[in-house]
Symmetry: C2
Subunit: 219 residues, 2 copies
C-alpha cells in the first residue's frame, strides 16, 4: 500500500520534516526581527526559537541576510500585487507610478529600522539570492512599463519612448528616494514622497524648453 511510487517530493517523511522546519525557522526569524531588529537578533536565538541546533539553521539558509531576503521578498511581492489591482488605469502616469511606489513605502514604513537593514542588504547579495530578488524587481519594472505603454497608447506619452527604459528611469528615482528615507536624515515619508513626485514630474515634462501645449501641473 505505501509502496506505490511516492517519489514525488512532497511525500517522504524527510521532505515533510524539512518543510516544517523551514517554516518554523522563517516564522521564528520574522518574530524576532520584528521584536529586536535584525542586528539585535542572533542566529542562535533564531535557532533556539525554531527548536533546532545552532548549525542547522545554515543548512536551510546560507546566512543571516539570506533569511531576511526570503522573508522580505514574498511579503513585498504580495503588497505590490495588491496595489496593482487597485490601480486606476486611466489616471495620469505619474499618479499611477506614485500609487505603486506608495504601496512599497507602506510596506517599508511598517518597520523603518528593519527596512533600513533590508534596503541595505538587498543591494549586494550572493548570486543565488540575487536572482530571487531580481525576478521580483523585474516584475515590478514590467508592471510600470505596462502602465506606461497604455499611457502611450492613449497619447499621454511620446510613442518614441521605450516603456521599459522610462520605467527604469522612474524606478531609479524611487529607489534613491527609498534609500534617502530609510537612511534617515532626509525628512519623513511625506517629504520624501513629495520629492519623488517632483522628480517624476520633471521626467514627464523634460528639461528642454517649450515642451508643448500640455501645461505643467503643480502639486
Amino acid at each position: 500500500m505505501s509502496e506505490a511510487a511516492p517519489e514525488t517530493a512532497s511525500s517522504g517523511l524527510r521532505e515533510r520534516k524539512k518543510r516544517k522546519k523551514r517554516e518554523r525557522i522563517l516564522s521564528a526569524a520574522r518574530a524576532l526581527f520584528l521584536e529586536h531588529g535584525f542586528e539585535g537578533t542572533t542566529t542562535r536565538a533564531i535557532s533556539e526559537a525554531a527548536g533546532i541546533g545552532a548549525g542547522t539553521l545554515f543548512t536551510y539558509f546560507r546566512d543571516k541576510r539570506s533569511l531576511l531576503v526570503h522573508l522580505f521578498v514574498d511579503d513585498i511581492e504580495a503588497q505590490v500585487a495588491r496595489a496593482a489591482e487597485r490601480l486606476d488605469p486611466d489616471a495620469p502616469i505619474v499618479d499611477q507610478a506614485m500609487h505603486m511606489f506608495g504601496a512599497c513605502f507602506d510596506f517599508y514604513g511598517q518597520d523603518l529600522e528593519l527596512s533600513r537593514t533590508i534596503v541595505k542588504n538587498l543591494l549586494f547579495l550572493d548570486p543565488e539570492d540575487s536572482a530571487h530578488l531580481d525576478g521580483a524587481t523585474f516584475g515590478f519594472l514590467q508592471r510600470i512599463a505596462g502602465r506606461i505603454a497604455v499611457a502611450q497608447a492613449r497619447g499621454e506619452v511620446r510613442s518614441s519612448v521605450d516603456p521599459l527604459a522610462a520605467a527604469t528611469c522612474f524606478f531609479g528615482q524611487y529607489y534613491v528616494a527609498l534609500i534617502a528615507w530609510t537612511s534617515g536624515n532626509f525628512g519623513g515619508r511625506e517629504t520624501v514622497e513629495a520629492l519623488l513626485r517632483g522628480s517624476l514630474e520633471l521626467i514627464r515634462d523634460g528639461l528642454v524648453p517649450v515642451a508643448n501645449s500640455q501645461e505643467p501641473r503643480d502639486m
Copy 2:
C-alpha cells in the same frame, strides 16, 4: 586662525604623536584594503601594520567602516574636483553630466571589488560619518546644479526647472547606475554608462509628446 600661542593644540607632543599615528593607520589601511580587499583585511592586521595595539585603532576610528569612509571621501572629492576643472561649459548638459559621472566611474573602476564595499557601506552610516559624506555629496550636486543653471541661462533648459531638483534627478540615475555596476550582474562599465546616458537623455526630453527639438530660446 592664530598660531602665535606656542601651547596650542598643534604643538604638544601628544598632538603630534596622535596625528602621526592617525596617518600611519590610514596609510596601512589603504595598502591592506587594496591588497586584500575590505573583508580580507582584519583590523588586527591594520593595527599591526600601523604599529599599534589592537584596541588603539578604535580610539582613532569608530569602526572598520569609518576607516573606509575617511579613506574614500578625500580621494573621490579630489577626483571630482579635477574633473570639474576639465569640464567644457559649452557642451550639452547631458555631456557635461556624463563627464562628471564618468570621472566617478573612473575612480570606482580602479578597484571594483573594493568599490562594491564602499558603495554598500556609504549608504548607511553613523550620523557623524554621514555628515562628512553628505557634505561631499551636496557639493557634487551643487556642481551639477551650477552647470544646469548655466545651460538654463543659454536656453538649453527650461527656466521653470529648479536646477538643484534637476541635478538631484540626474544624480539619482547616476547612483542607481553605480549600484548596478558595482553589484555586478548588470554588464560592464560601457553598458552601464550607455544606460545612464539614455536615462539622462530621457529626462532631458521628457515623456510628454511632441517635445520640440532643442531650439534655443531667447531670454
